[in-house]
């Protein structure tokens, strides 16, 4: 994946030339941007709700230890068990151990970005456990051996023709002549295959959109109902969630839920909002026998105390991806990270280290639309800039970039020198352009002139012209 600048750039250029991807990315705007706007317009208190939600999260994060303890107490009271995982390795090991203790051969999974973050599937599969993603989008990326390209819509990069090809390639048992040209055929086929898996699974693993300290419940939102079948049918249910998912009360969760669906898909509420609290109780008709929660830190408690703390308010709605011009141009895979787009540009350097992810916070025009649409009011451009500052302080940018900045700053701090240089550059460029109005090539600006002409200056700088006009007046 994109570990260095060249990898990111190459992946981006590749994505820009991928006609099928470019066509698919148009759906982001049609499917998400327009619907979110309509849903927001129908909720006059959206902005007030946004402030309330931000305050809920800020309060929770300021007392995260207390709320996590309270949550754990409630989980224990309901018969479940909480496991703390400092890092990805620990989380993988805990989940694997729990699966092995349950004698698991088959694990079903609901959609969980945290499980993507820790690379859970590969770990379980390496120990001989079959893992089946049950969210349709996640199921498809699993068939393809890819990672999701969007945190809400994993296969936004695909069209239904390519999904049909994937189904024909992998579902070899089914008749060849079957129709798969409509979305409903694909959904029906996936449902048919997944139904067997739901019933046979030994362990179900889900993520959590929220964890509620007041009740010890975990909340997931889905539109397919696959999360419910994953959580209730197997004998063991494991929730894998990161520590910042906790909120104090049911009421707080409902505040955040009202923002989440609208911001993510433009729905007022998702088709399913599922609360699970502990294992099956006496008299319950169904539900797991064992209930575990694996709480992942993976750098988050460090973020609590640094300039990226606001990022922990993120509820993973994906609105910042949907409105990002860079994401819209290159899609999610080019980021080389589980989390793409603006939220990924802030989170990934924390997870992978800035050296490996330095392009992500740099590849932004700072247009600010991500911050404007973020339901949690997260200052994403400011935090991308904070990563650039850290990167700069470590001496990371390329030598000629630093040199150019240093020379420019040296001159800009000396107005007389700066004006003399500006006059020379303006005159030089104008002369080279002649009557053409722009330069199509220029030795020091190849990065610019590769894609555009350089408009020619009018010829003299403003300050030179202004000084001359003033002298003329005073005479």
């Amino acid at each position: 994946m994109a570990d260095s600048r060249e990898d990111f750039k190459a992946a981006a250029v590749h994505a820009l030339a991928d006609a099928a991807l470019q066509k698919a990315l148009l759906n982001v705007k049609r499917g998400f941007v327009v619907k979110r706007e309509a849903a927001k317009a129908k909720l006059p208190e959206f902005d007030a709700l946004r402030e309330e939600a931000r305050d809920v999260k800020d309060h929770t994060l300021a007392h995260l230890d207390l709320y996590l303890e309270a949550y754990e107490r409630k989980v224990n009271e309901s018969g479940g068990q909480v496991h703390y995982a400092p890092g990805a390795v620990d989380a993988r090991a805990i989940v694997l151990r729990l699966c092995q203790q349950a004698g698991a051969k088959l694990v079903t999974k609901g959609k969980s970005m945290v499980s993507e973050e820790i690379g859970l599937n590969a770990e379980l599969q390496a120990s001989g456990i079959e893992v089946v993603e049950t969210d349709l989008g996640e199921y498809i990326v699993q068939l393809r051996g890819e990672r999701p390209s969007h945190i809400v819509a994993p296969v936004i990069h695909l069209n239904k023709e390519s999904i049909e090809r994937d189904f024909r390639r992998t579902h070899q048992r089914l008749p060849r002549q079957r129709r798969l040209d409509q979305a409903e055929h694909l959904v029906a086929e996936a449902r048919q295959i997944l139904r067997e898996k739901f019933l046979a699974a030994d362990v179900g693993i889900t993520g959590a959109n929220f964890l509620i300290a007041e009740t010890g419940s975990s909340v997931i939102v889905t539109n397919e109902g696959n999360g419910d079948l994953t959580a209730t049918l197997p004998r063991t249910h494991i929730v894998v969630a990161s520590i910042e998912k906790v909120v104090p009360t049911l009421e707080d969760a409902s505040t955040l839920l009202r923002l989440l669906a609208r911001s993510a898909t433009g729905q007022e509420i998702t088709t399913y909002t599922t609360f699970t609290t502990g294992p099956r109780r006496n008299g319950d008709p169904d539900g797991p026998v064992a209930y575990h929660v694996v709480l992942l830190d993976n750098g988050r408690s460090e973020m609590l105390g640094n300039e990226f703390a606001d990022m922990l308010r993120c509820i993973r709605c994906g609105a910042c991806l949907n409105h990002c011009p860079v994401y819209g141009a290159i899609g999610g895979h080019a980021y080389g990270s589980v989390y793409p787009g603006p939220m990924g540009a802030v989170l990934t350097p924390q997870l992978q280290g800035i050296d490996r992810a330095r392009d992500l916070p740099n590849a932004s025009s700072f247009c600010g639309r991500c911050e404007a649409v973020c339901p949690m009011d997260i200052p994403l451009p400011d935090m991308m800039r904070a990563w650039r500052e850290r990167d700069f302080a470590r001496g990371n940018p390329a030598f000629n970039e630093r040199l150019a900045l240093r020379l420019w700053a040296f001159a800009a701090r000396r107005p007389r020198l700066y004006h003399a240089l500006s006059r020379a550059v303006a005159r030089f460029l104008a002369r080279r352009a002649g009557a053409r109005g722009s330069l199509s090539r220029f030795p020091f600006l190849k990065a610019w002139t590769g894609t555009h002409d350089l408009p020619a200056p009018q010829g003299r700088t403003f300050h030179a012209l202004y000084a001359r006009a003033r002298r003329g007046k005073s005479r």
Partner: protein
């Protein structure tokens, strides 16, 4: 926002020319002076100005950014108002200066007070000077590109439109997605030229879709970016800073357009 004085007469405005206007398109600053004076204020252009510091700030070079920011504060704090023909630079002064100097006991208050009196040109004309129309003519249909900093940092949306619709003969056609970025982003356009150009191409399709012969904006950065790619594609759409049209100073060629011979 600073309270609007009963009369703009006697207001002393420092023009922040911006480095791009100084170098590439002085006519924009002359247009700005004409407009501010038409609104009744007195304009002065301090000589000791260079750049607002954004290139350093956005590249993570905080030290040089702060040095430049202090320089701007010292140069411009004596004015009643500071006006820039750019949402990007005005946004830097208004929003980012106070934060960059918040921990500097010598400068924190001065930066905050400078921020409160710093304005983007069209917003200053309408919101502070109370200018409702301009004395200018421009024949034809134009479309307007909101720069991201004008729109989202400064919430300037109505001011340029209000003034443009008062220009004789001009009709304004809105873009399909006026909130979309043009992909310029300063150093971004040089560090990631392919992504930047792809974002721009969506904007150019939107511009072409309006059928307008001219595209205007309040930020020269966006305009150089837009005009440069149009020139490369040999598209005939004219590109201008909004101030030129509002001041009736459109005799010269548009940005990146060839000079008429003779």
């Amino acid at each position: 926002m600073t309270s609007t004085p009963a009369s703009p007469q006697g207001l002393h405005v420092g023009l922040f020319v911006t480095c791009l206007v100084d170098l590439f398109r002085p006519s924009v600053a002359f247009a700005a002076i004409k407009l501010i004076e038409a609104g009744g204020a007195r304009v002065e252009v301090p000589r000791a100005q260079t750049c607002c510091g954004q290139p350093a700030y956005n590249c993570g070079d905080r030290k040089n950014a702060i040095a430049l920011v202090r320089q701007v504060v010292e140069t411009f704090e004596r004015f009643d108002y500071v006006v820039a023909p750019s949402g990007s630079c005005a946004g830097m002064l208004r929003l980012h200066y106070p934060r960059l100097l918040a921990d500097d006991p010598n400068f924190a208050e001065r930066a905050a007070s400078l921020a409160a009196k710093s304005f983007e040109l069209t917003s200053f004309l309408v919101d502070v000077l109370g200018l409702l129309k301009v004395d200018a003519a421009f024949a034809g249909a134009v479309t307007y590109h909101d720069s991201c900093s004008s729109l989202r940092e400064l919430h300037v949306r109505e001011a340029p439109r209000r003034l443009l619709t008062s220009v004789d003969g001009l009709s304004l056609i809105e873009l399909g997605d006026s909130e979309a970025c043009c992909g310029f982003g300063g150093a971004f356009s040089v560090k990631y030229p392919e992504i930047s150009a792809a974002i721009l191409d969506a904007k150019l399709r939107d511009i072409a879709g309006t059928g307008a012969a001219t595209v205007l904006s309040g930020d020269l950065g966006c305009l150089l970016h837009i005009a440069g790619r149009l020139a490369r594609a040999r598209e005939a759409v004219e590109v201008r800073h909004v101030a030129e049209v509002l001041a009736g100073m459109t005799d010269g060629p548009g940005i990146a357009a060839p000079r008429q011979s003779g």
